[in-house]
């Protein structure tokens, strides 16, 4: 039941960062099973920026959680950077996530008791990086993201956009191969959305592989590739490029008549 899109090989090709075959996940809520993800095949190459769109309840978040090991699939294969990860126990996944997967969620989900700096350094310390190095990396990221002066604040003292930037820093502190983002701009206003998108693009230009889930078309159009998920299945997988033919700017959408 695969949909149009790049054909998926039987074995993961060497420069596929993420390779998924026949992934299935069934939710059991209140006794009624519902298929969240049905027989999804997916390949994301190194350095690609993929957006996953679809109506709510289509399974986008579930798919993302499965890709990051936060949830276990019922069947199917997931290969991350050349190694098979779908059967890994929770603890192995946790170790893998430290260095290989970064997560950004809609509500930044920072630890409320710790400062922004501590929040970002935590994964680095966890991965065994010495504290001084962790701090240096954190300072570098904060400067890049424009929040150097917020290092000592707790999340409660940060605005939404700043919180999300801290979350981004936390996700990237260990230079993970894959960045997974679940509606990262979902609770931000348009200005902050623009800032976060700009930052994502910047990291993408440096080679970061990004898979993000969104319902916002603007966010999706920043990506190279948009996958449409309907009812747990991939309905469309298309590259996003410059508009065909001549672009008339806004006139392609609106016509001003006076």
């Amino acid at each position: 039941m695969s949909r149009p899109g790049p054909s998926v090989a039987a074995v993961p090709p060497p420069d596929a960062m993420l390779w998924v075959k026949d992934l299935v996940k069934v939710h059991r809520a209140q006794g009624v099973p519902s298929h969240a993800v049905r027989h999804v095949d997916l390949q994301v190459d190194r350095g690609e920026f993929v957006a996953v769109m679809g109506p709510s309840g289509a399974g986008k978040s579930t798919l993302l959680h499965l890709l990051g090991g936060l949830d276990r699939p019922d069947s199917g294969e997931i290969w991350l950077d050349g190694r098979r990860v779908d059967g890994l126990p929770e603890s192995r996944w946790a170790v893998l996530r430290r260095r290989s997967v970064g997560f950004v969620f809609q509500f930044s989900n920072l630890v409320a008791n710790m400062t922004a700096a501590d929040n970002v350094e935590l994964p680095a310390l966890l991965a065994g990086i010495p504290p001084r190095q962790a701090r240096a990396r954190r300072e570098e990221l904060f400067a890049e993201l424009g929040i150097e002066d917020k290092a000592g604040s707790t999340p409660a003292g940060l605005a939404g956009g700043e919180q999300q930037r801290v979350a981004l820093a936390r996700a990237l502190v260990n230079e993970p191969g894959l960045l997974l983002a679940d509606e990262p701009t979902g609770s931000l206003d348009s200005r902050n959305t623009r800032d976060v998108l700009r930052l994502l693009s910047r990291f993408h230009e440096r080679g970061q592989t990004i898979v993000l889930v969104t319902h916002d078309a603007r966010v999706a159009s920043t990506a190279d590739r948009v996958i449409s998920l309907f009812d747990g299945e991939i309905a469309d997988d298309t590259a996003v490029g410059p508009p065909s033919g001549t672009s008339n700017g806004v006139a392609d959408v609106l016509r001003l008549e006076s």
């Binding site: 936060l70 946790a94 989900n109 008791n113 310390l125 504290p131």
Partner: protein, 767 residues
């Protein structure tokens, strides 16, 4: 791991107050357990030390004069014999004090077995013909020291002056005044001088055994060998030890029980607090997992945190106990000093610490394990309260109760499992506090209704050099005295038993003494008796049976018709009417009179008046009241209530944060529904308040039952007898319950108000 440490520091900083509270509670538990350790260790108990050092005798017999005691040395298992020493009863007079004294004739050489351990001064010497060495507790009681002159009055009334040469410790008998008469050692010549009539003397013999466990058997054999008519009194080392150690042991047990109870409550509170924190931090834990913490790391996270708090608390407590313990007054301080001199006392502290930390660790293991199982993808809890309103709620609304209260009540109980867990957790400290209050009430009962616990007569009068008729006249004429009951106390042997019990003949059939009878009925006939629990246990009989005792050389067959409450002598007391001892010579001469005073009469005034009126020939003394020694118990009760209240507070805070977390989700909805912030706060406060109310009712109810059961159990075990337990007065319980509910409301109000006023958006977005 560094990451774990960072998290823990941040977490502790955010929950400073709760952490400090737990450390404090653990410290208190540590202090009480360490003090209990010190008191319960055998080495610090006086008897062990003295017996070993003095080569004590395991069995002491008092036999009639002239009896041949050599068969005793040949008994199986007897390795050595102390004595026989001639003894004579007398009275020691010192300023206003008159105490009964047993003079024991011991040669100038210190005996090998049951050697008195001279503490101050020196032992008897032939050069001082009127010297006496007093037993230490006796000397302490009468404030007699080395070099003092004491007056000793013999049975026939003649007085002699003796000089105190020294004081000595002995393991022959219990301390004065628990065990009377006290002992004074004199040279044989001195004894002859004071008591020339051999018929009024006795012989005291001590037997040292190869196997202490064979004491009972050997004592039986000894009595058989001599004939029970010849033996006046038998005592074993177990009796002496329990008399000597009683104070320490009782206090040690109380502190131990206190410590364990507090540990249990503290562990439960910690577990509850930990569980609450896990629930509150579900989002954070999911995030930690997303960032790369393994489940095992998360479990360790929680365990380390709570274990660290427990270790900190124990360290604080043990430091406090070690530094301040020796400074405490009374047996507590002494035991601490002695114990710290022991080589293995550090081991005991470490072992206790291990136990405390392990208990707390185990208690928090379950919440920690649950923390590890939190899914990395936090699911929104979709258990909205059931849409239907219960009939009760509808009724309440019909009655026009404020809707906020109704909502609060419904919220509190709509999840029965959670509600019952909270109620039981809150009920436990309430239950324990009620038991403690029951202890207090029982002590009050001792003081306010002494007749109910066998202390009907606060004064005892002994005539010295006064004939009975005049004595009775004086006593009955005194205005404060309601009645004077003549009494005699003698030792009685029960055949087949190895120890003697005290037989008290008090009151006459015309004028019976009001014994405090807990079971059965009082004495009505000459051959009837009531016995204390201790005596019943010793004689292996129960109420309604007949016993045969040998007292004063004559057998008596008595029908036990009731059980009396005997706070003295471990309850080894058999009480009869004076008529029971009627012999050919008529009623025996009363040794003393038990004086029951009129209500409102001042004991001291009556005492002074009688002493004056009799020109000193009536020795009036207050009856020993065991409740006096239970002063430390009151302190322990206060301490226990305080710590339990603290623990209850911790549980309340946990319950409150639970409730608030639930409601934060609903606040936005409630506001949209039109409730004002004040009403919303009322909803939360009502919920917690109602749960506390239910917990108080349940806890108090169960606590009253438990208190009665436990105290009566203790009473029965100690020989005093069941039936001493008093339940706390209803007003006390009501007040305590009201305080608990008020505390719950107070703890709840401020956070509830803050949550109710939180901006709606934040309330709605946090889930």
């Amino acid at each position: 791991m560094r990451a774990v440490l960072r998290w823990e520091l941040a977490d502790l900083r955010a929950h400073r107050a709760q952490a400090a509270l737990m450390v404090l509670v653990t410290a208190v538990v540590a202090v009480s357990l360490i003090l209990a350790d010190a008191l319960l260790v055998d080495a610090t108990n006086p008897w062990q030390r003295i017996f070993k050092q003095s080569h004590g005798s395991h069995v002491w017999l008092h036999v009639r004069p002239g009896v041949n005691t050599s068969p005793l040395a040949r008994l199986d298992g007897v390795t050595a014999v102390a004595g026989p020493y001639r003894t004579a009863p007398s009275t020691l007079v010192r300023s206003a004090e008159k105490v009964s004294l047993e003079l024991r004739a011991v040669g100038p050489a210190l005996p090998a077995v049951s050697r008195p351990l001279v503490q101050t001064g020196r032992w008897l010497t032939p050069s001082v013909t009127d010297g006496v060495v007093l037993e230490s507790s006796l000397a302490h009681s009468v404030w007699a020291g080395v070099g003092d002159d004491v007056t000793v009055r013999s049975v026939d009334g003649t007085t002699h002056t003796l000089r105190v040469l020294g004081t000595a410790d002995t393991a022959d008998q219990g301390p004065y005044p628990d065990w009377t008469p006290g002992i004074g050692w004199v040279l044989p010549a001195t004894l002859d001088r004071i008591e020339p009539d051999p018929a009024r003397t006795q012989q005291a013999i001590g037997l040292r055994l190869a196997d202490p466990a064979a004491t009972d058997f050997t004592a039986q054999e000894a009595v058989n060998a001599l004939g029970s008519a010849q033996v006046a009194e038998v005592s074993t080392w177990q009796q002496v030890r329990s008399a000597m150690d009683l104070g320490n042991r009782l206090l040690g047990l109380m502190l131990g029980v206190f410590g364990l109870v507090a540990l249990l409550a503290a562990a439960l509170a910690m577990a509850g607090g930990a569980g609450g924190r896990v629930l509150a931090q579900v989002q954070d834990i999911a995030m930690l997992k997303a960032v790369g913490f393994t489940p095992a790391q998360i479990v360790r996270l929680f365990l380390y945190e709570h274990t660290a708090l427990a270790v900190a608390g124990f360290a604080l407590g043990s430091a406090a106990a070690s530094l301040l313990g020796p400074l405490l007054p009374g047996p507590l301080g002494q035991s601490m000093v002695l114990w710290q001199g022991q080589p293995d006392h550090l081991d005991a502290i470490v072992a206790t610490g291990f136990g405390v930390v392990l208990s707390i660790g185990l208690a928090t293991a379950l919440p920690a394990w649950r923390a590890g199982r939190v899914p990395a993808v936090p699911t929104v809890r979709s258990d909205r309260p059931a849409g239907r309103m219960s009939r009760l709620a509808r009724l309440a609304l019909l009655l026009r109760l404020p809707p906020a209260l109704v909502l609060g009540a419904r919220d509190a109980f709509h999840r029965p499992l959670r509600a019952s867990l909270t109620v039981s957790r809150l009920a436990i400290p309430v239950l324990m506090i009620t038991v403690a209050l029951g202890g207090w009430a029982t002590l009050d009962g001792f003081q306010q209704h002494p007749q109910r616990v066998g202390l009907a007569a606060p004064l005892t009068a002994r005539p010295t050099g006064l004939d009975d008729a005049s004595a009775q006249r004086l006593l009955n004429r005194r205005p404060g005295v309601a009645a004077a009951y003549p009494g005699v106390e003698i030792q009685a042997l029960v055949p087949g038993e190895t120890t003697s019990i005290t037989m008290r003949a008090l009151g006459t059939s015309a004028h019976p003494y009001p014994f405090a009878v807990a079971e059965g009925r009082g004495i009505r006939d000459t051959d009837e008796a009531v016995a204390g629990q201790g005596a019943l246990d010793l004689m292996h009989v129960s109420v309604g049976q007949w016993v045969r005792v040998m007292a004063g050389g004559t057998p008596h067959i008595l029908h036990i018709v009731g059980r009396s409450i005997e706070p003295d002598h471990n309850g080894d007391m058999l009480s009869v009417n004076l008529d029971a001892l009627e012999g050919p010579g008529g009623l025996p001469r009363p040794q003393y009179y038990a004086l029951v005073l009129r209500p409102g009469a001042n004991a001291d005034a009556v005492r002074a008046g009688l002493t004056a009126a009799s020109h000193g020939r009536l020795d009036v003394r207050p009856t020993a009241d065991p409740a006096d020694q239970l002063g430390p118990v009151r302190v322990v009760v206060v301490g226990l209530v305080a710590v339990l209240a603290l623990i209850g507070l911790v549980e309340l805070v946990t319950a409150t944060s639970h409730a608030l977390r639930d409601h934060t989700r609903d606040v936005g909805v409630l506001r949209a529904m039109g409730l004002t912030p004040r009403q919303i706060a009322t909803v939360v406060v009502t919920g917690t308040g109602l749960l506390t109310l239910v917990a108080v009712v349940v806890g108090t109810g169960l606590g009253v039952v438990a208190s009665d059961a436990l105290i009566n159990l203790q009473g029965r075990a100690s020989g005093v007898g069941a039936g001493i337990a008093q339940t706390p007065s209803p007003w006390t319980l009501l007040l305590a319950g009201a305080l608990a509910v008020a505390a719950a409301v107070c703890v709840c109000v401020v956070p509830a108000r803050r949550a109710a006023r939180a901006p709606v958006t934040s309330a709605l977005s946090t889930f």
